[in-house]
Amino acid sequence: MPEANTETVATSPEAVAQHLAASRYLADDSLATAIFLAIRLGKPLLLEGAPGVGKTEAAKAIAGLLGRDLVRLQCYEGIDAAHALYEWNYQRQLLAIRHAGEHEIDIYDDRFLIARPLLQVLKAPRQRVLLVDEIDRSDHEFEALLLEFLSDFQISIPERGTIRAEAQPIVILTSNRTRELAEALRRRCVYHWIGYPDAEREAAIIMLRAGEVAEATARAVAAAVRTIRARPLAKPPGIAEAVEWANAATILEKGGSPWPEAFRRAIGVLIKDEEDLSYIATELGRIVEEALA
């Protein structure tokens, strides 16, 4: 059944986009195409983009679209096989040996095996989607390990032999591009660069994601955020911040602040860097007024 699922859901890029919209994620045409291709070609999907453009959200939406669980592997410097593949529960093994006394005991039994994300997905490839988040944070050795996993979808455990996936699992990798990924990894994947959306799409996203934001507010926020992103800030605001800003301003407005003032007072949820704040402070009034006009 789940197998038929991918076939029925991913009939065309448009169908994918519709299903994504149903799980509250608005993808543009080329992202929808990339997702469609990744699902149908059975290749991992590599999403790159600036922080806060919705890479992780996209992965969640894909899992939702296929009706599968999302297994997330957050990468960090120094991540290794014991965190990504599997680990034995040594304490339990030692206790079991003690407990068994004279009896024979298999200490490499399933109950002593702690499955980490990659193994979890391998065991149930039709029920789970693997998200390898921020792969650029891990180091080269881990990338090589992942490469092996992504090409064969199998894991060798010396004590147990090789575990192979019965079907091709769906894998999504995200990267903030803080370093270049190995060519070999890029080559194996379907690639998509997520940029900031245009004002219209961003307004739509804000409407969808924020609670009770009026359409005019959403449009104003989208326009203002677009202008702010063009400034040389240390940390340009992402989509999530824009949604938060719209939400915060709406709450303030209901609490009695008039419009341009509400935006100005809620700026703390949009820009989270003291220097950026002082840089934008002088212009903010003008930007908001232009966006509201």
Partner: protein
């Protein structure tokens, strides 16, 4: 299947004629040094088949997704796509690659001419002075190869999350100990240990290539090449009026080749300096600014910022907040009478960890090799001097 035949011929037979332009496009991209693997070509074909293709956009998107052009070359990719599938030949001439090569060609020619002129002067003079400089050059070469060998062990280190096996001073290694216990039938032999590994920190060099640094840039580039070859994770940027990353060029082992490639990438040689704005530009690219996080950062510049130095100050403050150690090596400090007296230097002195002499190769290599050792902050040293 059973009949042996020429594989190439067989391939041509089975490919529909309509597929030829797609293959041609991949070949075109390769000729412009896009890295495209055979595997990617076949998934491109599969992708196009899967999508229909119903329109040119389908082909374009399939190409983007499967051939994965790097984001910074997207525009160039678009131009090639236009020219190949729409026959828009004029677009290519305006393309990025051509423009770049045109500039580098000119640059290269200029360099050669200057070199030739210098050689003529040398011929006329042909004095002891020249021999001296040649000998000095060789000594510098020896010094650089020594520097390259020592660098990876001399850079400051940090503790990594990874652990290594050890015989003393460590935590119990349960995994290996358990194996030992099992193989010893439940006996507990001496416990096995592991300890967190130390890894060298990242090393970032920012080289000023403006006109005022003209005398030193070639030395600095040689040093940068040795650093890239010697350290695991070194990143090199040049800045003048714009910012250029030359690490990839310097990864080439042969020094002359690497320097020539780097020289071709930088197009603001010997111009003015806009140190503040370029450093801010460096920090505003998340990919670049993360190179500086926890790294040993060395800036090779005279920090002669004309006009307002507020931006320089902001940039340096942000850099020092990210970096493990921020050092400025200025050739001006080679003069014993040097004082950090300019307004710009005075402003950035409090955020600097070191302000050192960058006028000669020996002082620079010695300084970089001592980066792991603690030293008083720049402000304290220079206050004491003055």
């Amino acid at each position: 299947m059973s009949r042996p035949s020429d594989p190439r011929k067989r391939g041509e037979e089975s490919l529909p004629r309509a597929a030829a332009p797609l293959l041609g496009f991949c070949r075109l991209l390769r000729s412009y040094s896009f890295a495209i693997a055979p595997e990617q070509v076949s998934s491109f074909m599969q992708a196009v088949t899967l999508l229909g293709p119903r329109s040119m956009t389908d082909i374009r998107e399939a190409a983007l997704a499967t051939l994965a052009p790097p984001p910074d070359r997207r525009e160039e990719f678009e131009v090639h796509f236009q020219s190949h599938f729409y026959g828009n030949a004029s677009a290519v001439v305006e393309g990025d690659a051509d423009e770049e090569t045109r500039i580098t060609d000119d640059g290269g020619a200029d360099d050669e001419r200057i070199e030739a002129e210098q050689r003529q002067e040398g011929g006329e003079l042909s004095s002891a002075l020249e021999q001296l400089s040649v000998r000095d050059f060789q000594r510098d070469d020896d010094r650089l190869s020594g520097f390259r060998r020592q660098l990876s062990s001399a850079l400051p280190a940090r503790r990594s999350f990874r652990t290594v096996r050890t015989h003393s001073r460590g935590k119990l290694d349960l995994r290996r100990s358990l194996r030992e216990i099992v193989s010893a039938d439940g006996d507990v032999p001496s416990p096995l240990l592991r300890r967190r590994q130390t890894v060298p920190r990242k090393f970032l060099i920012l080289i000023d290539v403006s006109g005022s640094m003209k005398l030193h840039t070639s030395d600095y580039l040689k040093l940068a090449h040795a650093a890239v070859q010697g350290a695991d994770r070194a990143e090199i940027f040049t800045f003048g009026t714009r910012l250029t990353r030359i690490t990839t060029a310097l990864r080439i082992r042969d020094r002359d080749q690497a320097l020539a490639r780097a020289a071709a990438q930088v197009d603001d040689w010997d111009g003015g300096t806009r140190m503040g704005p370029t450093l801010l530009a460096f920090l505003s690219v998340p990919r670049f600014s993360s190179f500086a996080r926890g790294a040993a950062v060395v800036i090779l510049s005279d920090a002669l910022e004309r006009g307002d130095h507020a931006e320089l100050e902001t940039a340096m403050r942000r850099l020092s907040a990210r970096a493990f150690r921020l050092s400025l090596a200025t050739p001006l400090a080679g003069d014993p009478r040097f004082q950090p007296a300019t307004a710009a230097l005075r402003a950035i002195l409090p955020v600097l960890d070191d302000l050192v002499d960058g006028s000669s190769m020996s002082s620079l290599t010695d300084f970089i090799l001592s980066l792991a050792r603690p030293a008083p902050r720049a402000a304290t040293i220079w206050k004491r001097v003055s």
